[in-house]
């Protein structure tokens, strides 16, 4: 079957969506769908498995979508529900990229594995990447209504697109993004100050978890 019935505007001849159109639709949206799944899935579940589940549901249920303009909020709902209901017994494949970077010697530059003649520069780069990873960890620990818009923003969606997908006014998205970034930065600064003062990273009596 090459065409899936899509209730269209015409009562006489419903519009249909071809397999090729579905593939294009998936490719155009999978980037931000991955961020939504990442924001809502259990930590021990493989992201790509859930992506495949969502892709299958897109093919299976796209014809039930009455309004083609509503594809983004519809797809987000499917992604959120699929991520949340992902099997607890599924074990994720550990991605070793980050750990490989940590194992590299201070003289090497990130993923290229080339020796840098400027140890200071490579150290700056590694510190920057390490800070980015820590910031992302903190972002992942935010409450969902802050975490999701932040990850979608990092993934390149505009505030208007995020609002449309989540069914929330743009002004609310703006506020949530500001607060999310504030919380992440506040915690990062606290950890960095602790390290500078000789304390253990992340231990600070004022910041027990990220509070809105």
């Amino acid at each position: 079957m090459d065409h899936h019935a899509w209730p269209g505007d015409s009562a006489d001849q419903p519009a249909s969506i071809s397999d090729e159109q579905i593939v294009r639709l998936w490719r155009a949206n999978r980037r931000w769908v991955a961020a939504v799944i990442h924001a809502h899935k259990p930590s021990d579940v493989d992201l790509e498995d859930i992506m495949q589940d969502v892709a299958m549901k897109l093919v299976r249920n796209i014809h039930t979508l009455g309004d083609p303009e509503a594809i983004r909020p519809w797809l987000r709902t499917v992604a959120v529900n699929t991520a949340r209901s992902a099997g607890r017994k599924t074990r994720s494949k550990m991605k070793a990229h980050a750990s490989i970077e940590h194992e590299q010697s201070p003289d090497r530059c990130g993923h290229l594995g080339q020796t840098i003649d400027q140890p200071g520069l490579s150290r700056v780069i590694e510190d920057s990447r390490s800070r980015g990873r820590r910031a992302l960890e903190l972002a992942n620990s935010l409450p969902a209504h802050y975490r999701e818009p932040l990850l979608l923003s990092l993934r390149g969606m505009t505030q208007k697109q995020i609002g449309e997908a989540m069914g929330i006014p743009v002004t609310t998205i703006e506020t949530r993004l500001i607060r999310a970034r504030q919380m992440v930065r506040r915690e990062l600064l606290a950890e960095e100050q602790n390290v500078t003062a000789g304390g253990r990273p992340g231990v600070n009596a004022e910041y027990v978890g990220l509070q809105p």
Binding site: L47, M56, L136, L154, Q159, L188
Partner: protein, 230 residues
């Protein structure tokens, strides 16, 4: 919120939009005017940009590979009924898997959404059903069971009640006598299955008492296994 707080928030909104590359020319102009009065604004912008870029880079690493996830080819090869979604073994494997039979009845108009029927709309979770007036009575306007089912699945999915549509199970198939020269026709009996979710305080299952009568028995959730396939 006082004027100072409101102004502070507006500054943050502006810096946030500039850092996210969403600011237009007017907003950039406002930022520059603001920075002229508050020199620390450029430093704040630089810090925000740094945080943004570092997190963005880390997220790209974390989601490495997902941009290449394609729709599995079998999604298009098989009829709607036979699509399975779990790579690591279906939760229904066992009792139902043995009974599943490939169903291929594509092209039979009786199973397709009827023409000339308005799609049922969902508004604020309430399904708006088209009605008609007939002899002074309001009745449901005629629309196909397939359309009603599809709308139920759609609205249920939107509301988080419907998790997944499971493969149909064929129970029986009987040939129907057609005219000579006509393609063969079969009457198919099948079961549709939906995986749904709801929240309950108590639930009952039907069991039999000592006299063989069916009686409802309260389910003891605490005694269920802690790890389930779901």
């Amino acid at each position: 919120m006082n004027n100072h707080d409101r102004e502070h928030n507006n500054d943050e909104v502006l810096i946030g939009r500039v850092a996210a590359n969403e600011a237009n020319a007017i907003e950039w102009s406002r930022f520059e005017s603001q920075a002229a009065e508050h020199p620390g604004s450029w430093e704040e912008l630089a810090r925000t940009l740094r945080d943004e870029l570092q997190m963005r880079s880390a997220l790209e690493d974390a989601l490495q590979g997902v941009d290449q996830v394609e729709i599995p080819s079998e999604a298009f090869d098989q009829p709607l009924a036979m699509i399975t979604t779990r790579k690591n073994g279906a939760w229904w494997s066992g009792w139902a898997l043995a009974a599943m039979v490939a169903l291929a009845w594509g092209g039979m108009s009786v199973f397709m959404p009827g023409n000339g029927v308005d799609t049922v709309k969902s508004q604020n979770g309430v399904v708006q059903v088209p009605t008609a007036e007939h002899n002074g009575e309001t009745t449901l306007a005629a629309f196909s069971p397939e359309q009603a089912y599809r709308d139920y699945v759609r609205v249920g999915t939107e509301q988080g009640r419907v998790i997944e549509e499971l493969p149909m199970v064929m129970i029986d198939a009987r040939p129907i006598q057609t005219g000579s020269g006509d393609p063969p026709l079969y009457e198919v009996y099948y079961v549709r299955q939906l995986l749904e979710r709801t929240r309950v305080n108590t639930a009952f299952e039907m069991n039999r008492d000592d006299l063989g009568r069916q009686v409802p028995v309260k389910i003891d959730f605490a005694s269920l296994q802690t790890e389930s396939d779901l």
